[in-house]
Symmetry: C3
Subunit: 315 residues, 3 copies
């Protein structure tokens, strides 16, 4: 192989890792899915598309440069927290400063991810999106005391006793299910959601169906529990359920077989809905979005309980 060829190969391998870093946002290791998701983000906003691609590059580069295991980096596991952090910072901060803070935060999220892998690897649990969530919360709160960055005014702190529901409309199932998938990438655009969902189907029929089922389970649960219809329509109850379903039925399936994985996934996806409500109320006085914390907690608890029952069963 000539030096030029091997440089080209290295380039292709890096680009694949970057695209897988985008696909891992939705718990899938597939460069095509990542490409589709990136197109979906670009379709909604050029700025966010650039931030998403750049953040995945930064995260992947951190993994490569700091000496992480090559296989872990190539699976995209250093990219997804950076992607989400970059997008969230670009969406929820205002003013020009955010274009500097977004890549810096993407860098920090990759370091944070490495430290969490060190802790959670010991108990055989994935990091999920914990570093993204906590780092982004801290930066959004920091905006109150740092003039260089300003908060997007949609983030509106509110006393818990001032929370009121408006339950006038009936939610729309198609809107809700597609937006539930799009919101995994913090996109509230219907077309972006459709493109991202197509990307999931590119990885296989089964992850595609899991995503739809998770989103639909959340829609039904939220509707039955009397959640606000505007939230349901925007997919704000769906994305955590999509991720929980994919985690339990596709990314980390049970040893007990596919049917059990789907049932447990649906139960956990439905459970993530009241968890989403609860966490969003906890964050209300800070005006912070719940991000994917409901998924992260629900999936950790579900996977850890499964581990425990399996250990007990095999001993």
């Amino acid at each position: 192989m000539s030096p030029a060829e091997s440089a080209q190969q290295a380039g292709i391998s890096f680009i694949k890792a970057v695209l897988r870093g985008i696909s891992q946002v939705i718990l899938i290791e597939n460069a095509l899915t990542g490409l589709a998701a990136l197109i979906g983000i670009f379709s909604a906003s050029y700025g966010l598309g650039i931030v998403a691609a750049l953040s995945s590059i930064i995260g992947t580069a951190v993994g490569r440069c700091c000496g992480a295991e090559r296989k872990v980096v190539d699976q995209g596991l250093f990219g997804y927290n950076a992607v989400l952090t970059g997008i969230a910072i670009a969406l929820f901060l205002d003013g020009p400063g955010k274009w500097i803070v977004a890549p810096a935060a993407a860098f920090l999220s990759a370091i944070f991810a490495a430290s969490m892998m060190n802790w959670l690897g010991r108990i055989q649990l994935p990091v999920f999106t914990f570093p993204f969530i906590v780092l982004t919360w801290v930066i959004l709160l920091a905006a109150y005391r740092m003039d260089f960055i300003a908060l997007n005014p949609v983030l509106n702190p509110q006393n818990v006793s001032d929370i009121h529901q408006s339950l006038t409309d009936i939610p729309d199932i198609l809107q809700g299910v597609v937006h539930g998938v799009g919101q995994v990438f913090i996109m509230d655009d219907f077309i972006a959601g459709l493109i991202i969902l197509s990307g999931v189907f590119l990885a296989g029929i089964r992850p595609g169906i899991s995503a739809v089922l998770g989103s639909a389970a959340a829609w039904l649960t939220a509707y039955l529990l009397g959640a606000e219809s505007s939230w349901i329509d925007q997919g704000l109850y769906g994305y955590n359920a999509v991720l929980t379903m994919l985690a339990l039925s596709w990314t980390f399936p049970s040893e007990r077989g596919r049917r059990f994985s789907y049932l447990a996934g649906l139960a956990a996806a439905a459970s993530s809905v009241p968890v989403t409500s609860g966490i969003s109320v906890f964050l209300a006085p800070y005006g912070l979005p719940a991000f994917t914390m409901p998924f992260t907690l629900t999936a950790w608890i579900s996977l850890s309980a499964r581990q425990w029952f399996q250990k007990a069963g095999s001993s």
Copy 2:
């Protein structure tokens, strides 16, 4: 043994596990204590008695069906978080929906308990009531965004700066000590407290004395530190101290002998009083009760410190 006899035996074994699930709420493994506590709860409210029994059945069934170690389930260790979750949901939610949410939450608390056993087993610490506390907090907060369930209006969010003490009355020691024991089961009924305390004595003189000493230590500490007398009278400073004292002196006694266990238990029980105040102030903006978090944290810290000193001593 005929099939009928073995079915009967299985039934008796299950009922014992369920009753021990109720007794484990107060850190005791004894079916009679569980029965007495159940009678105490029924004496205060039929609805709560039914919820308590049903929740212990659900928790125990989860342990059995999911393949937990039989011994752990039979000790009642799958029941107590479910019992407390069921009772707390029935007490602090309003409207008919709560009778559906209570058993569903009891189910989830048992799954959560399994996942915590998986984590904490590695560091030789018991789960205590952490799953109950966190799950119940999340569900109570979720009620602000889910129309199917409504909060009991006693839960009243309040800014920290609006907290004021009213220190007019002198607290009553008998009321306080007995209520402190009853509040372990979230009962504020004096007779229920007395019946539950009798149940503890059924398990032995020593746990009975530990419970009384823990409650009395909390009473004294709260009084000396100038806590609100209505809280002291209702046992709201006592129940965490009762549990802390029982954990350190009865359920997990020290290798250094009984006297040391009692002294450490009393010190930890007294410490749980300011922890109770602190946590209740932290939760004030959310209108959430502290539940048994002060006990869980105080007991974890005490047991872990003891482990560490013992390891150092034996090395």
Copy 3:
């Protein structure tokens, strides 16, 4: 050796452990540094100096009496959480009760520290000041419900939406850098800061330079990010950076060599600045100071990420 001589030696060894307990507040194991810091505290306030010395005695005595490894106690690792807890309680509580609560809290912080050593030792992370921070927060919050203690009125709960910056003045670099070192001991006195900084130089040129660099990095970062100048002048952005820098470049240097340790330390120190803002906003509704939580979290994440990359590199 005569009994008198050995008693004298034991006394000297104990005093050295106590002074090292004070120096460990700033991550240095050096009795002279501890003595200088104690003089610095006395120069600002006799009361605080007595509390600091007494707290270190209490923490060290807990370690000795409870059977901790002698080496750990002699390094001062049982003293520093107690020292900080004592000072913070004496500063942020009001009324005569605080002189009883401060030593009691110092005692509890040493027990808490032992329990954290038990947990964090398993993942090769130092406890840092976590026990001090959490225990002091709980006690300060408890003051709202315990009449025996009163809060210093400087602690003023505030809704997040009421936070406003005043950016009129230009911060002073000398003030900021020296105060940043003094605030490690919660001292806002310039002379105290100078004496403490001299003490750090007594331990060596390198830790002294690290402390100055960390404080200066924070000053620059805070200034560039548009932090409030009064906070910068008082060193409120500096002390967490000083500690982060010392942890990464002096106390726990990298295997990759000194230059890498300094660079990583500076990056982490700069990162601790927005973390300080974020945590202080999170605590605003409770009126609590961030204390050294930004340092503890930043340093844990940095050290754990370094561990993970080193493991990956060596495998």
